[in-house]
Symmetry: C2
Subunit: 239 residues, 2 copies
């Protein structure tokens, strides 16, 4: 366990950790399907396929194969491919743009707003997401997520898990990496943050990928804090 008094800022992964991307994509996909009379699409599979293109799309930016490109643009390109893969045609550009903005309209996990509100009394709370600033701002306004700052990939012009994403965020918060606690439901994100000197808090989000068994082993990794949700995290940090 860490001494909560040594922490200045909590930095958050967002997709999957704070908000439930899968349910949001299903919700808006099904609404579009009803409006357009589309009946053959499994929107859970659609959500997984769209999200599945996330890492390879960022990878082309991370390697320098293409210049800095925001996640909104990467999402839009992936969406076009997934619509073709699922044989969804006949959508106007504006309808595709609107579906792409579902990432701006994701709902938080039920404990998130209350947990963040408690944590914010004591700590600086910042996003450290691969989502671009406008996406994070829209999401936060809609869902009342009480961030002190929207930082992360776009501000650093590096996608996680590049170390620059973590280190630039810490520097802008005026904090040493050791004074930052990275909060995520994903071991790879925490491992990359930890390699930069961040403290790490694993929060379990077993429903992120829907009804399937969560990957095992994550809790055995040496995270500084392991919490079942944000309320438990607030308890463990004395908030």
């Amino acid at each position: 366990m860490i001494d909560p008094a040594t922490i200045r800022a909590l930095t958050f992964d967002v997709f999957g950790t704070v908000v439930d991307w899968r349910s949001g994509v299903i919700r808006d996909g099904e609404a579009l399907a009803r409006a357009k009379g589309i009946q053959h699409v499994d929107w859970g599979a659609f959500a997984a396929a769209w999200r599945g293109r996330y890492l390879p799309a960022m990878q082309r930016v991370r390697t320098g194969e293409r210049p800095w490109t925001t996640l909104d643009v990467l999402h839009r390109e992936s969406l076009q491919e997934v619509l073709a893969e699922f044989d969804v045609g006949g959508l106007a550009d504006g309808e595709i743009d609107d579906l792409n903005r579902v990432w701006h309209r994701l709902d938080p996990w039920p404990d998130a707003v209350e947990g963040l509100t408690r944590l914010r009394r004591r700590y600086v709370l910042a996003t450290l997401s691969n989502g671009n600033v406008a996406l994070m701002v829209d999401m936060a306004k809609r869902a009342a997520l009480p961030w002190d700052a929207i930082l992360g990939a776009e501000v650093a012009r590096h996608y996680k898990p590049d170390p620059e994403t973590y280190l630039t965020t810490a520097a802008m918060l005026g904090a040493s990496p050791e004074a930052c606690l990275m909060v995520a439901a994903h071991g790879g994100d925490l491992a990359a943050a930890g390699a930069c000197g961040f403290r790490t808090a694993y929060v379990s989000r077993p429903d992120e990928y829907g009804p399937r068994p969560p990957r095992s082993g994550t809790k055995a990794r040496p995270w500084d804090v392991v919490a079942s949700d944000f309320l438990d995290l607030a308890d463990r940090l004395g908030c």
Copy 2:
């Protein structure tokens, strides 16, 4: 007048426009003087001298004479010089550091929090200040300033009035410059924003420099909105 529906984001100058830097420096300077038995300093003059070194310090970064340097560091260097100029000696480094952080502890003008809270219901509110992110975050937490995003100079790595500061902030907000309304009490800031395509709102802060007549002529400039304070601005934008 502009059509409020064409605006997505309000971007704010902060020092002088949202917070009263002069009173804050006097307040903490006088407290330090009492604690240390310093009796010969006019803290209003001290505040003006410190603030007076702001533009030249940033200018050396803007011209490339020195690499990117945060305002906290520029303030600290200027403070050392102003302490010498006012013949204040005998302070420990930690005491100077603490006085330097007065910029993180400035109080808002009396109408600011209520006005911002009203404006935020309709618009994205972002800082577009030369203050660094950590400074803005500390100030916002202490004073309950309800920003949606902390952007501006450090994120753009350019000090105002460089156009990059305004244009990077707009781009990160996902807004065209024309969909951003720059709010400031300073004509130069508004003129630079306007040259980038921003809409402009002049807010009068006659007490920024203490008991002296405000510079004339500012209201005659072609700003899109002229408001007496943030409550008046909210009225004019239908919030």
